[in-house]
């Protein structure tokens, strides 16, 4: 390494630059602090630039940089202001949002209550939009003044703020010509949309006038879509990209062994859940469900197959989210499982265990381990590793006993999970779950009051924990690998790659 010599000319130039730097305006100072180009490699291809028309994790990772939601959620599950400065439930079915002043879209038009009214009414009324079904409970969205919006709902909708963290705000002008707007969209986010090469990458550039002065920290952001994990990892190891998501446990040691790469992991907002078909002979019998649960050695799965990149489950709702409680780990007791099965007269039981091909890390190995564990207590398991669409059809038709699945609480709120899987209407073509007690508690838990919600969700989970309509084998862990040039990277629990505040050396 050579040491730079301080010459007279360098001294004069350097002092001049220093003087200049102290005299610049704050925005220019921000621009100076902002430099570099981060390239991220995401696991799924982006399908749309419309924030209301997808539930894709990769699309969200990209679009959260272009559009801001009303509320944000932190990695420790706190709901914090974004475009709404504050919000409040006036009663069980009325919410009031006070908006941030002085925010502008990338094209210079101001963000106002009209934007919120437009965005919310659009997602509710255009039922072709993928997110539309979530907002069907909205009755009216009213502009009180330029910075105040009131939302009334048809029934209590306590998880509305949580869902709003997933909905980017659009300018009302998007309404006239949606195709044209989404070809080159504008939001209020820290980055402007530049270009999208379909199937390959998206380019964004810094929004110098972003309302949050601490962001963005880089000039350019590129998201490349690299679905194959080994390819994603190779690009990171070759120094072509700076961050990758969805790393599998068995890739961790390779990445950790590469100089210049750090691996980050964090407990995800996801619980694995293998659900029983409750109308079929095996799943209908609570004793069978209990025996199956007792026969599965969850800790071995976590330790041996997932290499420790998972956490033992103590309640269906993962830690950090409203409703989480500690009900204690489910025991592993094959002897008791055998005794229960014998008592119940199920000496030669066969279960169809359906998997959605290649969806979850190590799922086939895990299913094979479970088959061996259940075989040990006299239950034969047919593993049916089906293509995703076919597996889901089989589930609708009820042709399974146990179904390998997981639930990521993307809004950081469990209402969606309970409402979908433990109400008669939701579970009808899925698990056939039907328990009026649980249904009643779910309805009561929809109110905005967090204390009431916590209490109702605890009650629901006590019933479920006892009844075991599902096996909850482990909470998932989100793993990312990052170049050590990145500063301030936060491994998100919701699998998103958010680079608002990330800088590059």
């Amino acid at each position: 390494m050579t040491t730079p010599r301080l010459t007279r000319r360098r001294f004069v130039v350097g002092s001049g630059a220093l003087l200049g730097a102290t005299a610049v305006r704050p925005r220019a100072a921000r621009a100076q602090a902002r430099r570099g180009h981060i390239i991220a490699g995401l696991s799924e291809r982006m399908l749309t630039l419309d924030p209301a028309n997808h539930y894709s994790i990769s699309s969200t990772s990209v679009l959260r940089h272009v559009y801001d939601p009303l509320l944000d959620v932190t990695n420790d599950d706190k709901f914090v202001p974004a475009l709404a400065e504050s919000w409040k439930a006036l009663n069980n079915t009325t919410w009031r949002f006070v908006l941030r002043k002085g925010v502008r879209f990338h094209d210079g038009t101001p963000f106002t209550a009209d934007s919120v009214v437009f965005t919310l009414k659009r997602v509710r009324d255009n039922t072709k939009l993928i997110k539309s079904f979530v907002y069907q409970d909205i009755d009216d969205v009213r502009k009180e003044d330029d910075v105040t919006v009131t939302v009334t709902t048809k029934r209590p909708f306590g998880s509305l703020p949580a869902h709003l963290t997933m909905l980017g705000m659009l300018p009302p002008s998007a309404g006239g010509n949606e195709d044209g707007f989404f070809a080159k969209p504008v939001g209020t986010g820290p980055f402007r949309f530049t270009s999208w090469t379909h199937g390959d990458h998206v380019e964004l550039e810094a929004n110098a006038g972003y309302w949050r002065s601490s962001a963005p920290k880089v000039d350019r952001l590129t998201f490349r879509f690299i679905p194959e994990l080994s390819t994603r990892a190779a690009a990171l190891r070759a120094g072509e990209i700076h961050v990758i998501d969805r790393v599998w446990p068995d890739m961790v040691s390779t990445l950790k062994g590469t100089s210049g790469i750090k691996v980050h992991d964090v407990p995800a907002v996801e619980a694995q859940r293998w659900h029983f078909q409750l109308a079929r002979e095996a799943g209908k019998d609570p004793r069978v469900r209990k025996a199956v649960s007792l026969a599965i050695d969850r800790n071995t799965i976590i330790k041996e197959l997932l290499l420790g990149y998972a956490r033992p489950v103590v309640s269906p709702v993962p830690p950090g989210l409203i409703g989480h409680t500690n009900l204690g780990q489910k025991p592993y007791d094959p002897d008791r499982a055998r005794a229960i099965l014998k008592q119940a007269g199920h000496q030669s039981l066969t279960l169809d265990f359906v998997l959605m091909k290649d969806l979850y890390p190590k799922q086939l190995e895990i299913a094979q381990a479970v088959a061996a564990m259940l075989g040990d207590v006299g239950v034969k398991v047919n593993i049916r590793n089906l293509e995703i669409a076919t597996a889901r059809e089989q589930r609708t038709a009820g042709n399974y006993d146990l179904f390998f699945s997981g639930w990521a609480h993307m809004p950081h709120d469990p209402d969606w999970y309970f409402g979908q899987w433990f109400t008669k209407a939701g579970a009808e073509k899925m698990t056939r779950f039907n328990d009026p007690r649980v249904e009643q508690l779910i309805a009561e838990g929809r109110v905005p009051d967090p204390k009431v919600r916590q209490q109702k969700y605890e009650e629901i989970q006590k019933i479920l924990w006892e009844d075991e309509p599902e096996i909850w084998p482990y909470y998932s862990v989100a793993i990312y690998a990052v170049s050590d040039k990145l500063r301030n990277f936060e491994a998100r629990r919701d699998y998103y790659v958010l680079l608002h505040e990330v800088a590059i050396a």
Partner: protein, 306 residues
């Protein structure tokens, strides 16, 4: 010739209508619900039903087919379920990457395969011949995914000479095209060798040599030209296959080509995109076959269509 051409074009049209009906029906018979694949797992059945209605999937099959035919005539091939934009546009966006990869792989195939075959034939049972056999056997037996990953690890990660993946610039073409060309290169080398050997034993070659033609002229001008006929058929079919996409190579190199698009579209039950790709690739196949048949007459003046 003209009557022949018209007859062939008519046959091609009938084939393509047949293909479109077949693809259309098969997609709707296989299990899987497009709306369920678009919506998250937690969408209520009512939302699934509503979306299927929006997508037109609750109409009788013949009405759906009529709507599809109308969209073909209109020129957009219907709306992609996943991308929510015209299916033809979604497919066309992948064409540059697909064509680039196809051309590059074909160039490697011809530039490597034909000389290998010639050398092996001309120097039969020499070290050259055995070396060419080894290369050909390797090319045909190494699985694409393994070869691709090894090339990435060597030239991308370890040596850092070439980009590991992605689409942009000719450098990014090198690894995927070599991976993709491995198999057809081997095929072409073997084929060139065997057909050249057969022709080199013909009497007119002996005549050529007897009248004092130089060896390069005999081999390249007289023998190779005749050996090109079976080669051309194989190359034509290879181009057709490659244009239809190369799923494994595209996956390894995150290459935005047609192969991965069609596989993803099948997984997600994006019917309009699958229909568009299959009908377009059937069209390309039919046309290339036609062109290859016509090229025979150029290469071999004895072949005449009437």
């Amino acid at each position: 010739m003209r009557a022949y051409l018209l007859r062939r074009l008519w046959q091609s049209a009938v084939t393509l209508v047949g293909v479109s009906i077949l693809v259309f029906v098969i997609l709707r018979v296989i299990p899987g619900d497009p709306a369920k694949m678009l919506l998250p797992e937690g969408a209520p059945p009512s939302a699934v039903e509503a979306l299927n209605r929006h997508l037109g999937l609750r109409e009788p099959l013949w009405v759906q087919y009529a709507i599809f035919l109308r969209s073909v005539v209109r020129g957009d091939f219907g709306q992609s379920f996943q991308y929510r934009s015209p299916a033809l546009r979604v497919v066309i966006e992948r064409v540059p990457a697909t064509i680039q990869l196809t051309l590059a792989a074909m160039a490697v195939t011809v530039l490597a395969g034909v000389p290998l075959g010639i050398v092996a034939a001309v120097r039969q049972r020499s070290a050259w011949d055995y070396a060419s056999t080894v290369v050909a056997v390797l090319g045909q037996s190494l699985p694409n995914f393994w070869l691709g990953i090894m090339l990435v690890l060597l030239f991308g990660v370890t040596l850092r000479w070439l980009p590991t993946s992605g689409f942009g610039g000719w450098l990014s073409l090198v690894l995927p095209s070599v991976t993709l060309a491995a198999f057809p290169t081997a095929l072409v080398a073997r084929l060139t060798r065997s057909s050249l050997l057969e022709i080199l034993g013909q009497e007119y070659i002996r005549t050529g040599r007897a009248k004092g033609l130089g060896e390069p002229r005999v081999v390249l001008r007289h023998a190779l030209r005749n050996a090109m006929i079976p080669l051309l058929t194989v190359l034509g079919l290879q181009i057709g296959t490659l244009l239809g996409g190369a799923v494994i190579t595209e996956s390894i190199f995150a290459w935005p080509g047609m192969g991965k698009l069609v596989v993803d579209a099948i997984f997600f039950r994006d019917f309009p995109v699958v229909q568009t790709i299959l009908i377009l690739s059937a069209t390309i196949f039919v046309l290339i076959n036609l062109v290859v048949d016509l090229l025979y007459t150029v290469l071999d003046p004895r072949i005449r269509y009437g």
